[in-house]
């Protein structure tokens, strides 16, 4: 048999190049995705630059007084121009108000949130857990103007009663003293509304952290005869401690930046007020909204400076919080 194969062999494909160098399409892909990923850096940077650019003149003329004084006056000179020498801009009262209201929110909201998270993680039957988690997550999506209206029309009524009760029995504590008998629209009410507003975020973060508690340690605690509380105290709390602190700070950051709800329920008065039951207070965000409507271009620059201060403040609190949360699990026994 001599039927030799005479067919010319099909063209052998050239050897594939084996390389770790990405193809052109991949380089484009990585470039596009990376530039998209860097957008958060760009946006945060732009916010900082533009607020600084617009607020710089105010910060320069007012100096440290911008943070330490509580005087907000745009003086118009005879020629109809704003007189930068005579005008005073200071946000001390609003800074104090911001911290006061946010701290009230945290003090009231955090025990409730952490307790709720413990219940949802360690106690709740599956069916109840599902419903409650959905409900609390839904609350996180409620618009802030809704919280404002609810606070104004519903919470105000019962809050007034509680405020009177507190001032009656606890007026020996300086915070609860009433300089005058006006208890509506007080920082206390605003703090209550904000407490409700931060419940979803603090609950969901705490829940996430508690649910990561190592199962073997929990079972070890039970195997040693511990009750559920003993297990929580010996295992879950030490494990989750730093994460919860981070969650609390995220809640604080949220509460510090809230605008519309605070604007609605709080009587914004430009003076430093430590009496949480008294009808006067404010926070930087709501003050910006209040002054913005009738502000002259010069005053808007001052408001930009206030926005810059608020931005930096919330950025610091949030960054610290995120650092603490991401380190969870490395602490504990």
């Amino acid at each position: 048999m001599s039927s030799t194969i005479t067919q010319t062999p099909a063209a052998i494909p050239p050897k594939r190049e084996i390389t770790t160098k990405p193809r052109f399409s991949d380089r484009v892909f990585r470039g596009v995705v990376t530039s998209g990923g860097l957008s958060s850096l760009v946006i945060l940077g732009l916010i900082l630059i533009f607020l600084l650019f617009n607020g710089f003149s105010t910060l320069k003329t007012q100096g440290m007084h911008f943070l330490t004084s509580s005087n907000w006056q745009a003086v118009v000179s005879d020629s109809g121009q704003i007189d930068p020498k005579a005008s005073h801009f200071g946000i001390a009262a609003m800074l104090v108000g911001t911290m006061l209201v946010a701290v009230i929110a945290v003090v009231i909201g955090v025990p409730i949130s952490v307790g709720a998270a413990i219940y949802l993680t360690f106690y709740a039957p599956e069916a109840i857990k599902k419903i409650m988690v959905s409900a609390i997550d839904l609350m996180a999506a409620f618009p802030s103007v809704l919280f404002g209206l609810w606070g104004f029309f519903v919470l105000e009524a019962s809050g007034e009663y509680w405020a009177k009760l507190l001032s009656k029995y606890f007026s020996w504590i300086p915070f609860f003293k009433l300089p005058a008998p006006y208890v509506t629209r007080s920082p206390f009410i605003a703090g209550l509304v904000l407490a409700v507003m931060i419940i979803p975020i603090v609950t969901s973060i705490s829940r996430e952290i508690f649910s990561q508690t190592p199962l073997d340690r929990m079972q070890a605690a039970y195997a040693l005869g511990g009750t559920r509380f003993a297990m929580l105290r010996a295992v879950a709390f030490p494990y989750a401690r730093s994460g919860i602190v981070g969650g609390i700070m995220l809640g604080l950051g949220r509460a510090m930046g809230e605008t519309v709800a605070v604007y609605t329920v709080l009587n914004i008065v430009y003076q430093v007020n430590w009496h949480i039951l008294f009808s006067a207070g404010g926070n930087v965000a709501s003050m910006i909204l209040l002054k913005f409507g009738e502000a002259s271009p010069y005053e808007i620059k001052a408001l930009m400076a206030a926005g810059l201060v608020l931005f930096i403040l919330t950025l610091i609190v949030n960054s610290l919080a995120n650092l603490i949360v991401s380190r969870t699990g490395k602490s504990g026994r």
Partner: protein, 353 residues
């Protein structure tokens, strides 16, 4: 020959489950606490719902502690009291949700009217009787604002998520950090930024696109973080299979990973929309609140639901307050629908088409 004897399968035992005696005990403690609080309220000057709740709470904890202590000692008693405390916490946490939903319905449903969805406010004021004028313009406005914000923020958010999960370059950690920091930017600051960056130097007036840009800033972190969570759930096998078939990374991401995560990415989008649909502060600074229908986001004042609610609330008459609650009701229904849609999509198995 041995016949197989049928052994009745034993029902599983659950020694940790509550027995009827336990249930009776709990019911007894609750009843006792109610009785005690009624007596206390009758004998002391305390009165009102709040006093009842407080006395009941304390009475329950004390009785619970005493009963458990007598039966099983201190550790069990502390455990039991702690359970009571966390149960109270969840009850308090859920109370505002119920209160808010009930309030919105009770106060808002008077304001619901057919004209709400067919008319705008160009020839009516907020103080007119309910039933004249509507919020069609506001619904259109909110829809436009949100769509444009979505067009801007969804690509950026998903690209960020892809960077964090697929490319994992050297900026992964810083970007993760920055995205989280960005989610804490107060909405008023986002508004001020757009005001400073666009309104002052260029447009010098209000329009819709400025509002959309501010909303996009608030939306990006939500979209990015949710998408990242979803993409993390895609099994590594799928990526490896794509690359093993000779695909470039680009092709395996575009043709395998993203389609597999499709429903999750849509969920991320919807959650982002739900986050910003009711955002008020930047809208008040940037878009204006016209009462007439405006389909052009690039020019002219654009009314929106939050703005409508805000104006109606500020007007302060009973009619306008009713309008505000009706507006809130419509807004809330939209948010709840979006949220439910996100939940349903998100619960579907990842990777299923």
């Amino acid at each position: 020959m041995s016949t197989i004897e049928k052994v009745p399968t034993p029902s599983p035992r659950k020694p940790w489950a509550a027995t009827p005696i336990d249930r009776a005990k709990t019911a007894g403690i609750l009843a006792a606490a109610i009785v005690v609080s009624v007596i206390v309220l009758a004998l002391t000057p305390l009165s009102g719902k709040l006093a009842f709740a407080a006395v009941f709470f304390v009475a329950y904890l004390i009785i619970d502690f005493a009963v458990s202590f007598a039966k099983a000692g201190r550790a069990a008693a502390v455990d039991s009291v702690f359970r009571g405390l966390v149960t109270t916490a969840i009850a308090i946490a859920v109370m505002p949700i119920i209160s808010i939903l009930v309030t919105v319905w009770i106060r808002g449903h008077h304001g619901l009217h057919w004209t709400l969805f067919t008319m705008d406010m160009h020839s009516n004021s907020f103080t007119d009787p309910v039933g004249q004028g509507g919020l069609l313009h506001a619904i259109i406005g909110t829809f436009l604002l949100v769509i444009v914000a979505m067009i801007i923020s969804v690509p950026i958010g998903i690209l960020t998520a892809l960077y964090l999960t697929e490319v994992r370059g050297r900026f992964t950690r810083p970007i993760e950090f920055l995205v989280q920091a960005m989610s804490g930017v107060p909405s008023i600051v986002a508004g001020l930024f757009i005001y400073a960056a666009i309104l002052i130097p260029f447009t010098k007036t209000v329009n819709g696109i400025q509002g959309s840009l501010a909303l996009a800033i608030l939306m990006i972190p939500t979209v990015a973080r949710t998408s990242q969570e979803v993409l993390k759930l895609i099994p590594e096998d799928l990526r490896e299979a794509g690359v093993a078939l000779g695909g470039t990374q680009w092709r395996s991401v575009a043709l395998v990973v993203v389609p597999a995560a499709r429903s999750g990415l849509i969920t991320a989008m919807i959650l982002g929309v739900a986050r910003v649909a009711g955002e008020t502060a930047p809208i008040l600074l940037l878009t204006g609140g016209s009462g007439t229908k405006n389909f052009n986001v690039f020019s002219g004042s654009l009314g929106s639901l939050p703005n409508y609610v805000w104006q109606a609330f500020s007007a302060g008459t009973p009619e306008s307050i009713t309008r505000a609650w009706a507006g809130i009701l419509v807004l809330l229904v939209i948010v709840v629908i979006l949220f439910t849609a996100a939940r349903i999509l998100g619960n579907r198995k990842v990777g299923k088409k």
